[in-house]
Structure formats: structure tokens, C-alpha cells
Amino acid sequence: MYYLGVDLGSLSCDAVLLDHDGGVLASSVVLTGARNREAIAKATDAVLRLAGITEDQIRATVSTGYGRDRVEKRLAAVTEITCHARGIKSLFGGAQILIDIGGQDSKAVRLDPNGQVIDFAMNDKCAAGTGRFLEAMARALQVDIEELADLDLGASGNVTLSSMCTVFAESEVVSLIADGVEVREIVSGLNRAIASRIVALVRRVAPMSNGLSIAMSGGVAHNSGVVRALSQAFETAISVPPKPDTVGALGAALIAREKYARQS
């Protein structure tokens, strides 16, 4: 018996397939694009192929992400807040704060010792500090988004960006380039700007975050520069799983397994 979690996000569609015991058999990440049903099919087909099973062997599917209602044949649709919390609990059981920075929004989630959500805060009204924001900045700097991760290394950290609005920040980056500011200084400034925004978000759920264990999920966690800036801002190490973008789908698959067990 197998369990599937599908996370249909704004930038990527992720799938995780679990076996009967809850072990991860396969995971996939595909671009969502304009046709989200196609993205769901691609992500699902990929995990089925990797695991060597057929769709009819899946006992339960739980969907999450902004497009969770678009997933057919689902046992339930669960919000990404609950799914990321469930996923991170299985990876870092002691996490007390979860930071999820996705393609188009960011979230701070406070967890109790059992991994249950006790408070959360979301920024979903603008793309500041999200994957879309980083894409725009990479474009302005004429680098691939993956290259951004270590471009801040060796920076003195004396460049500060005054705006986090994606449009204004892009203009500011262009101006800094025109002024001859080094790329590593600009990237360092971008990372610190994202971190300061996330600190404010976390303060809403944990006014005193000192000493709390922090984990991170979502695609932006692949960017080690952002993670470094967050670590400095919180003055603590941030736990990041090897595949941070599939944490929501993992949580969804775990919930699918639990729900199926309860129903049977």
C-alpha cells in the first residue's frame, strides 16, 4: 500500500510517495507552469515511475498548496501550513519554529513539542522575499537563480537595500550595478533584506525567538546565502532538510497515511 502527497504551489508542483511504513519511496519537483493539471500529472507520474508502481496501488492521496483543490482523486485537501508542519516534524522532531519561503509567499509557523501548529503568520499579499523575488533579482544581476546561493561569500555586508518590493528592489539593484557596486555586496544586501523581513514575520508568532529551534522548508531554503543570512539574524543555526521544497508534499503524504489508517 502506498500513499501520495501532492503540493501544487505557484512555482513548482511537488509529489512524495510513501510506502506502507511511511518511508519515502520517491519524490519529484516539476514546474507548475500555466496548466496545473498537467503539472500534477507530471509530478505524480514521476514518483510512480521512480518507485516502479502503478496509480491503482496508491491507497490515499492528500493534496496541499494553493492549488490543492485542483487535485482529483484526493482523500482530503489540507493547507500547506499543516502539511509543512507535519513534514518538518518527521524530519526535525524538535523544531519549534518553521520558516517556509515558497515561490510566492512566506510563512512562519510555531510548533508545540508534538509538532502541532499553535500559531502561524503568512505574508501572501506581495512577493517580497519569496522565490519570485529572487528570480527577479537574478534576472537583474544576469545570473542563474542557483548561482545566487554563494554569490554573497566574501562580501563585507555594507550594502543595504531600502525596498523589498519586487519592482522597486529590481530598480535599486540595477542602480547599484550602474554605480559599480560588486555583485557579492548586492546579493549579500538582498539576503539580509529577506532575513530581516522573515525575522519580523517570526516575531508575530514568537515575540522571543531566542533559544528556539528553527527549521526551514520551501524552495528558497536551497539558497544557502539566504539561510546564512537567517542564521545570522536569529543568531542560531537553521535546520534545512536535503529536499526542502518537498516538505509540504511529504507532510501531505504522511497525513494521507494517517487518515487512511483512521478510516480503515
Binding site: 494553493y66 500547506e80 501550513i81 501548529v117 502561524f120 503568512m122 501572501d124 499579499k125
Partner: protein, 352 residues
Amino acid sequence: MPQGKIHRVGHACSYTPTALIHAAGFTPYRVLPVGDSPDRAGQLLHDNLCPHAKRILDRAMDEDLPDLDGMVFMNCCDAMRRLSDAWRTVRPKQGVVLVDLPVSPTDTSVSFFAGELTRLAQTLQEWSGQSFTSADISSSIDAMNEMAELLKEISKRARKGTLVGGSSRLQGLFNRGATEPLGQTMELLRSAVGAAERRPTAQNGVPVYLFGNVLPEPEAFAHFESCGVHIAGDSVCTGLRAFNRIGGGNSEDVFWRLARGLLDGPRCPRTFHPSQPGKIAEEVLAEAQACQAKGVIGYTMKFCDPYMSRLPGIRDALREAGLPLLLLDGDCTLRSIGQQRTRIEAFAEMLR
């Protein structure tokens, strides 16, 4: 005043003395921030002003209103005062009155407010061309009280989950009570109270207490329920708070009675007792606990200064009591409620 036609006087705040408007022979018509009038109020009002005030002005600019013989504004906040100024610009030929509303229910404030209501009565007489007596006002208070009692009973059923049509139907009835002639509304409400109750199927949702300012769209309540919450109690100014029973039937001065009744009614954040400025937090907590809510949703308008000043106290009181709080800010459009879907669903999941 010509007979055979409904004569309406508009208003925009739950502190408006609707019984006085009724006694003057008018139908009180609350200009609710609803509809799809184009967003044009920004021509006259600042971008960062309360969307409630702007939406009302949008309706006036779009002529999306029935004929009004006049407009009564309560001086309840800066946004409403600015709205009254802008209204005079948009409708220069219409009678407009701004009634000062004290912030506290002390005896001095009640006396002052009674004076304001006396002044309003004179204005209403000028608009209608006919006089009315204290006995007329008492009679209108009684009629409005009856409507308030009926709505309270229907509201209880909705909160228990036994009202056919649920919370969205209840909001529809509140809206009709706020805009239609009293006789028609009373007939409808009596019929609703006399109808059989349904089994409480809506109880599948997690019980929450809702507080805030304006939420007049019936669809908004259906949306809340579709996200997995059941509104077990509420205090919003487009709901029961706008239909407050006026007590003091033995009072000799009917204006004083009305002033006392309005200022002693369910509190909105712009009204407080000087000795207990943070009492609204205790009231929200007490009401949430009374309806056995597992969490509290605060739905307030963006840029609402009175609420912004009270929310920290409310948040602290709920946190100390262990009641989770979800704060949502709205802009008087259903679109903004749709965007909140993930938050409301996640809140319901958290409370389960």
C-alpha cells in the same frame, strides 16, 4: 412629506439613532459597503483611509443608492467625518448632518449626546416637514426593540446551527433589517422565528467567535463555513451590534433614554469607559468563552485606527486565556475574503 412613497434617510454607523429617523416618518437606510461600484472614492479620500468609508462613497458616486431625503453621519471616527465632508461634495444638494458621538458612556457624555439627538430631531423635522413627539419616538424605540429581539432569537438559532440557511441567511436578514421599511422586515422576521428549526448539521465546523467591524456580505459567512469553521458567536457592527435593544422605558426624557441606550450598547473599539479603557478585550474574551469557541477570528478593515489601537490588548487577553486568535484584514470586497481562505482553513485545522 408626500405619502405613497418610501422616504429614506441614509446612515452608515451602528450608533445611528434609527428609532429617531423612524419616528420622523423615514425608513432608516443603512448604506452598506456592498456592491460592485467602481473604485472612485480615491478622488476625494486618501488611499490609506478606511475601505468602509470609501466603499460607501463609491456607491454614492456611482448612484448605486435609492432616493435619500437626507444622510445622517455619526462622528464616530476620522474616516466617517471625512466621509461626511466628501458626501457633501458628491451630493451638494442633499441634506447632510454630522452628529457628535461621545467616546464614553458617562452621565456627562449621555447628556451631551442627548443634546445632539435633540438637534438631529430638529433637522429630521425640517427634512420631513412634519413634527413628531416624544411619544412617537418612544413608539419607534419599542418597534425597533421588537425587531432587535426577533433578530436576537434568529441569531441564536444560526449560532446553534439550527437556522435554515445558516449564517449567510442571518446576515441577509440583518441587511434587510438595516435597509428596508420596518413593517416588511418585521413580517419577514416573525415568519423566520415561526419556522421550524433544522438539525444542527453546521456543527461539523470548529466553533469560533468572530469580532470586527463591517462584514455585510452574506456570502462571506458561507465562505467562513466552507473553510471549516462554525461561527458560534459574533460582534460585528453590521450584525446584532446594529440592532441593540434600548432600555430605560421609564425614563422621562426620551432623548436621554435613547442616548443612554446607544452608548451603553455592545462596545465597538471607538467607545470605552474612561476607568476601563481596555475593557473591550475582556468583553471579547468573555463572549468567546460564553459561546464555547475554540478560537477567535478578528475581521477588521484595513487602516481602522480604533481597532488597531485595541487589538494588542485583545490579543494579550486571548493569549493569556489560551484562546488562539486569527486576525484578518478586509477591504469590503469578497475578493479579499477569498484570499484569506488558506489562513481560515489552516486556523480550523489548528483548532481541531
